[in-house]
Amino acid sequence: MSATLSSQSDVRLEEILIHTIAGMLDGLRHVAVGASSPVPGAAALLARARSGERTRVSVLGSEDHNFFTDGGKELFDCAGQGRIDAFFLSGAQIDGNANINLVSIGDPDLPKARFPGSFGSGYLYYVVPRVILFRLEHTKRTLVEQVDFISAPGFSEPNVYRPGGPFAMITDRCLFDVDKERRRFVLKSVHPGETVESIAENTGFDYDVPAEVPTTPLPDAETLALMRGRIAGEIAEIYPGFAKRVFGLEKAA
């Protein structure tokens, strides 16, 4: 994750991910970003910058990039009303039915591993139309056949109110689309250095593979400059460690 993709250029993997995610946000009215989400946060800020500020972005934990005035509940109330178009969720485990696990491995009462918890996923996954899953460790340990704990299910019974759900999943190896009818992931593109075979070797669930799977495009020079300049500065307010590691930026005092 920390190395540049030396065979390609000086573009870092994080920059490809940010660029790819931003491409799924262009034209949206309002994108919200939750906890522990530096890559999605940077992508949302990039989409906003490219929209001429027409896309609103709310970043949890930010004072500069968050316009909510009614406390911690407002993000959820806003989402419940359909005022948030896109959100990001991850999981210690994610399975082939797009169920996510943010809680534990093994028996939840006496777990082998315990993670922070479900955050807002038990609600936002249901009500935000375009939930983009991200998991920056793509292995059979993380992308599994069945999660040990369902923080939020990928899909619901027909009588459950569910305007929201998975839209795509991005990992450090590839991008998946979601076929909502068939409730399956579909391989959309592989990041530089990966192949259809390497994805199969590292994925613990079944998914569809089209005849043609392109390589995930790199950001162009203009996008890179925007990312490394303005966006790096903006994300440093919330994720100073990330901004330093990826963009070499120290947070301004």
Binding site: G117, G122, P240
Partner: protein, 274 residues
């Protein structure tokens, strides 16, 4: 009337064994100086409620053996990773976790603040969060056909505890846009506050400050505590997060011995300074 105390330990004495306590998230206003005083007192069996999550302060209390129950949507040190003492306590089975999702915590507090028995919410159905909460119920929406919703009972903390930038001598506390603190104060039976500064005058006199002010009606007791959120920052002030210290905490708290050394240096060792 709000009790204006002059001594942090007098406020800490109001945190009793077994109390159910609403805690703000790290980016809101954490009463960390008070929690250090509470740990020095040796309080036990607290039931912490993350509104809707908690971080450093809850991990510190768990590590110090003050906590029996953690009811929260998450526990995290943010960029500094997993909360080490929470993680260790869960794996050892030494605390009970009531996992939630953020809006369910807000829904429970909102029922409490309006004196209603419960709130209803979307989401949750089909999750293991719901499956493991026998205090939450799936009910039929009485206004529609075949539309299950989740009923969340009123969540009434014994205490809401937080740090804020300023208050006046009438007990009015200015919180700006951090309005989860307002909901916490409304919902809780008692509210204990530490503030950077107790100012002269009346924060309710000017609509600009009144809009972001918790009336003294809800505030049981408070005390001035300079830099009382350290090592966390405080919104709308120049108090920034002490990232280097949190990194050090995350490192030291990885082991029981390291955590004991941390307590000795930064909790017990700070008594004179606080």
């Amino acid at each position: 009337m709000t009790e204006l105390l002059t001594d942090l330990d007098a406020l800490a004495a109001k945190v009793r064994d077994g109390a159910k306590i609403a805690l703000p998230p790290d980016y809101s206003g954490c009463a960390n100086a008070l929690w250090r005083a509470v740990i020095r007192r040796g309080v036990k069996d607290l039931h912490l409620i993350g509104v809707p999550v908690f971080g450093y302060h809850g991990d510190l209390l768990i590590g110090a053996g003050c906590v029996a129950v953690a009811e929260t949507s998450a526990v995290t040190l943010g960029e500094h990773g997993l909360a080490p003492r929470f993680t260790a306590a869960v794996k050892a089975g030494s605390i009970t976790v009531k996992d939630a999702t953020c809006p369910a915590i807000h829904a429970g507090l909102q029922a409490a603040e309006r004196g209603a028995p419960f709130s209803v919410m979307r989401g949750l159905i089909g999750s293991d969060i719901l499956a493991r909460r026998d205090d939450w119920k799936v009910i039929d929406n009485p206004f529609a056909e075949n539309d299950p919703v989740v009923a969340i009972p009123a969540l009434t903390p014994d205490l809401a505890v937080f740090h804020a930038a300023k208050a006046d001598r009438h007990g009015n506390v200015w919180i700006g846009v951090r309005r989860e603190l307002m909901v916490m104060a409304h919902a809780a039976r008692d509210t204990l506050v530490t503030v950077e500064e107790i100012v002269d005058g009346d924060l309710m006199a000017d609509p600009a400050t009144k809009a972001g002010t918790i009336p003294g009606l809800y505030v049981t007791a408070m005390v001035e505590a300079k830099r009382g959120s350290w090592p966390q920052g405080l919104p709308a002030t120049d108090l920034a997060v002490d990232q280097a210290h949190l990194a050090r905490y995350a490192e030291m708290a990885r082991t029981e011995e390291g955590f004991a050394a941390y307590l000795a240096e930064f909790v017990v060792g700070r008594e004179a300074a606080e």
